[in-house]
Each structure stands twice: as C-alpha cells, then as structure tokens.
Symmetry: C2
Subunit: 238 residues, 2 copies
C-alpha cells in the first residue's frame, strides 16, 4: 500500500522526514499483516481449513514484534525531534493506531484457533452464510480504515466509521440465530458457542477499525471524536 | 488514592510539575471510577440488582469524558513541555493507560446491561459461585494494578500481571461449566449465554489490568515488556 500522507510537510531535516516515513511504512506493513490475518482467519473458518487456521493462530508474533518496534521508534522521535503541531498529532496517532492493530491481530489469532477446532465439525451449518457476510463486511471495513489511514482521508474515515453500526446489527442478529440453534440442538452447543466467539471477535475487529478511523479524523482535524455521535462526526466531513 | 510517584523529579518549573501532578490525579480519578464501575457491575449481577445494573450501564460517559480530557492534556504537555527521559515515558504511559481504563469501563458497562436483563431470571444458579470468584479476583487484580500504577511499583506490577493466568483459567473453567448447563437445560441457553458474556468481560478486564501493569514496568524500567513471558518479566523484579 503506497503511503500518500498529504499532510506530511517537508522538514528542514531530511533525516527527520525519513524517520517519519520509515515509521509510517512500518504501520502500513503492520496493517497489511493484520488485514491478511483477519482475511485468512475468516477463510479458514468458512472453509474448515485447519491448516490455514493453524497458520493464523501462530503468526501473530510478527504483528506483536512490529508493535513493539514502532512504539519504540515513536518514543524516540518524541524524545529526539520534539515534534509539534501536525507532526506531534501524527506520532500520537501512530501510537494509538498500533494498539488497535495489535488487538485486531489478537482477535484474528483467536478466530484461527477456533477455525482449527471447528474444522472437524462435519457439516457447514446454515448460519455460515450469515457468518460469511459478517466476515466480508468486517474485512472490507478494516481494509477501508487502513486505506483512510494511508491517505489520511477524513471523508473516507467518517464513511468507514459509520459501517460499525451495521456490523453490530449483523452480529446481534447472528447471535440470536446461534442461540436458537443451540436451543434446538443442545448437542451442538459446544461448537456453536465457538462460532459465537468468532462472530464476537469479528464485531470487536469492527470496533478497532472504527477507532483507527477516529484517529485519522483526530490527525487531520485536530479534533478528538472518540465518544461523539456519528452525526457530530459527519459535520467534520469536507 | 494518594499519588506517590517516586520517580517524579522536581522540575525547575513549578508549573510543569503541577501540570504533571494534575494529569496524574485525573488518571487516578479515572481509575477509581472504573474500579467502582466494575465492582458495582459484578455486584448488580450477583445480587440480581437491576437498579444498580442500570446505574452502571449509564455512568460510563464520565469515564469517557475523563479519557478525552486526559488525552488532550497529555498532547498539550508533549507539545509545550517537550518532555524527555522519564517524563516522556510518564506521558506515553498515561496515554496508553487511559485507553485500557476506558475499555475496562466499556466492559463494566456491558456487565451492567446484562445484569439488568438477567435480574428477572428467577433463580441464582449454582455457577454464580464461580462467577463470584472470578468477579472477586478480577476486581482485586484491577485494584492492585491501579495501586501499582499510583506507586509506580515494579514488583507489585509484576506480581499483579502474573494473576492474569489464574483468571484466564477460571474463565475457561466457568465457560465449560456454562456449556454443560446449556446442554442439560436448553431453555436456559439465552440467559446462560449472557452469563458467559459477563465472564468474558471480566476476563478482558483482567487483560487490560495486565496491560496497565506492563506500562508501569515500562515507565520505571524503560523496557517494553509487552508480549514477553512472565519469566522474563520477573527478571526485572528488584
């Protein structure tokens, strides 16, 4: 994913510029990794592919390593460059974003683990359609959030953040469906609960993607929109 | 909770000192609030007290307001004071800590909501003993984590972080118990699932408390211990 941080001003120090670009590149790499982890996790789950699930459940360390690395570089930039204004907001934005990316990685890891243990379940039940829809919407929301971050695009961030509501609704509806299934066929409780945890993880990934969108808005507009309504957020649209 | 940040050096600027103390006081207030929210949430659940549950589920906005306020003050300190060394670590630690405190608040809010909807369930089932134990351990872990933060006590932070393992085990065991219940009495699935979400929220609160402990270690030792094993962490003990 190419970095087109429109707001990144040219600094008198080329080296400083390089440092910021370098750390941003790593955030993009980390974003790409978690996006792949989530996509693979969902695919492993839907295709009952235990090999892929195993891969997802063991690859999270790469995301974790990047988190620690980026975190350290950000603190060093703060200490040595003492950034101000939009540079400072950028560094704070990165520190926050990688926390959410790391947690998305954690959720993907969980989905991978459940995919392994669910792979032996004989049939692909009807609710897999709903799960597939939820998975599709969450992975596309995550992709859009990372894209909004890469382009520091406020409008895209606002539009993407708004998708979280739909995902919450889909999760609630799938949860109700799963409860009905469990009541009708109690022998399936153990497996269906696992599907429910996966759905929950997807819903949480939507929350984290929304957080990333909010950081983009903070970065560009200098306004903290955490805990503000969608209406208020949309007023910041260009 | 009195603030005894041992590492807080006297600055030439009294005003700068006051700013740091002021923001630390707010973190303590925020910590006190989420601690109360979690305690009340668990109590509402166990005592089937829908009034208290309602209170918990609507009081989270105070935690959110504090998060935004503290976050803003930290960014201002970074911009105006350009802190270095342990002061910089302190500000970064605060920025990270309040994110976890805010999420603990979110989990408490969820527990409050479930407490309301579970309050009408007629009997207090046997698994409430396990849930009570889990609730007790998580609230005490959270208390210890906030205490370690207030005193910037590395040893206490390491000891508290270690408790997360026990909490994870208790959650797993409770989850298995709940699954058995659902299989035996499918009519109870709807309610038991809610209890399972509450247990999950408690387990997540344990994770967040552990994060706070890790930030304390980072603050004092200057070493990022995220994603390192307990053994390695314990080597940092004094």
């Amino acid at each position: 994913m190419p970095i087109e941080i429109l707001l990144l001003e040219q600094h008198t120090s080329q080296r400083y510029n390089l440092e910021l670009e370098n750390v941003l590149n790593k955030v993009m790499t980390m974003g790409g990794l978690v996006e792949k982890q989530v996509g693979d996790g969902v695919r492993a789950l839907l295709e009952a592919n235990s090999e892929l699930g195993e891969l997802v459940s063991t690859a999270d360390y790469r995301v974790n390593l990047l988190e620690v690395e980026i975190d350290e570089e950000c603190t060093q930039i703060l200490a040595r460059r003492q950034p101000a204004a939009s540079d400072l907001r950028l560094v704070v934005t990165i520190i926050k974003t990688i926390t959410d990316l790391e947690r998305i990685g954690d959720e993907a890891e969980k989905i991978g683990r459940f995919a392994v243990s669910l792979a032996t379940a004989k049939s692909l039940p009807v609710y897999y359609t709903d799960l597939r829809h939820l998975g599709d919407h969450v992975t596309s929301m995550l992709h859009d959030a990372l894209d909004a971050f890469a382009r520091m695009d406020v409008d895209a961030a606002i539009a993407t953040a708004a998708k979280d509501l739909q995902i919450d609704k889909e999760f609630e509806s799938l949860s109700r469906l799963l409860i009905t299934h469990m009541m009708e066929d109690p022998r399936q409780v153990k497996n269906v609960i696992k599907v429910n945890w996966c759905a929950r993880s997807l819903e949480r990934i939507g929350d984290h993607a929304k957080n990333v969108c909010e950081y983009v808005i903070y970065m560009v507009k200098g306004k903290n929109v955490r805990h503000t309504s969608l209406d208020q957020m949309q007023k910041l649209s260009t």
